[in-house]
Amino acid sequence: MESARGVGVDIVDACEVEDALARWGERYLARVYTRREVATWDPSPRRLAVCFAAKEAALKALAPPETEAVPWPSIDVQPGPRGTLLLELFGEGAKLAERRGVGRFVGSATLAGDRAAAVVVALGDTA
C-alpha cells in the first residue's frame, strides 16, 4: 500500500521565465530543463513556468537537505491529461527519491493569467 512521503507546491511568474529566456536563452534552457521538456514546453514562457513550478514542487516533496545538490534537469516533467503532471527522475533526483522511499509522484498544475502553480505529492510503499 502506498502512502504520501511528502508534498510540495510552487508558484512561478511567467514574466520571470520570459525575462530569463530573453536574457539567457539557450543557457537558461540547458541549465534548468531536460531536452524532452524543452521539446514539450518551449517556447511558451507560461508553459515553461508550469514546468518549473512542477520541478520545484517535486523537490519540495522530496525535501533535500540544503547541503545536497539536485540539479533541475534531474527532474523531467511532462503534461498529463486534464492538468495532471507526469514526473520522471534521473541522477541525483532519482537517488534522493530512492533514499526517501518514493516510488512515484502525482501532481497537478494550473495557470491563472501569468502565474503558474503546481502541487506534487511523493508516494512510496508504506513501511
Binding site: 512561478v12 525575462d19 530569463a20 539567457w24 541549465r31 513556468a49 540544503e66
Partner: protein, 80 residues
C-alpha cells in the same frame, strides 16, 4: 566582491527589499528570493565572474546568503 554580488541580486533576485540593506549572512530565500529567481542569479553570477557552477554546487546552501555565494565564487576562482 560583495558589492558586485549585491548588484546582481538587485537585478535578478526579485527581492522586495534593497539587497544593500541585507547582512551578508542574511537568508536570501527568507528575504523573498524565489527558486526561479535563484536561477537568474546563478546565470548572472556565472556571466559576471566567468565561471560555471558545477552540479555539486547547485544547492540551496550555496545561493542562500551573500557570504555563501562569495565563498563559492572564491572556490571556483581557485582562491580558496
Amino acid at each position: 566582491m560583495n558589492d558586485e554580488i549585491r548588484e546582481i541580486l538587485r537585478l535578478h533576485a526579485h527581492l522586495p527589499i534593497d539587497p544593500g540593506s541585507l547582512a551578508t549572512e542574511a537568508d536570501l530565500f527568507a528575504a523573498g528570493m524565489s527558486s526561479h529567481a535563484s536561477v537568474g542569479v546563478m546565470l548572472a553570477l556565472e556571466e559576471r565572474f566567468g565561471v560555471e557552477f558545477p552540479d555539486h554546487m547547485l544547492k540551496r546552501e550555496v545561493f542562500g546568503t551573500i557570504d555563501s555565494i562569495r565563498s563559492a565564487l572564491e572556490e571556483l576562482a581557485g582562491v580558496r
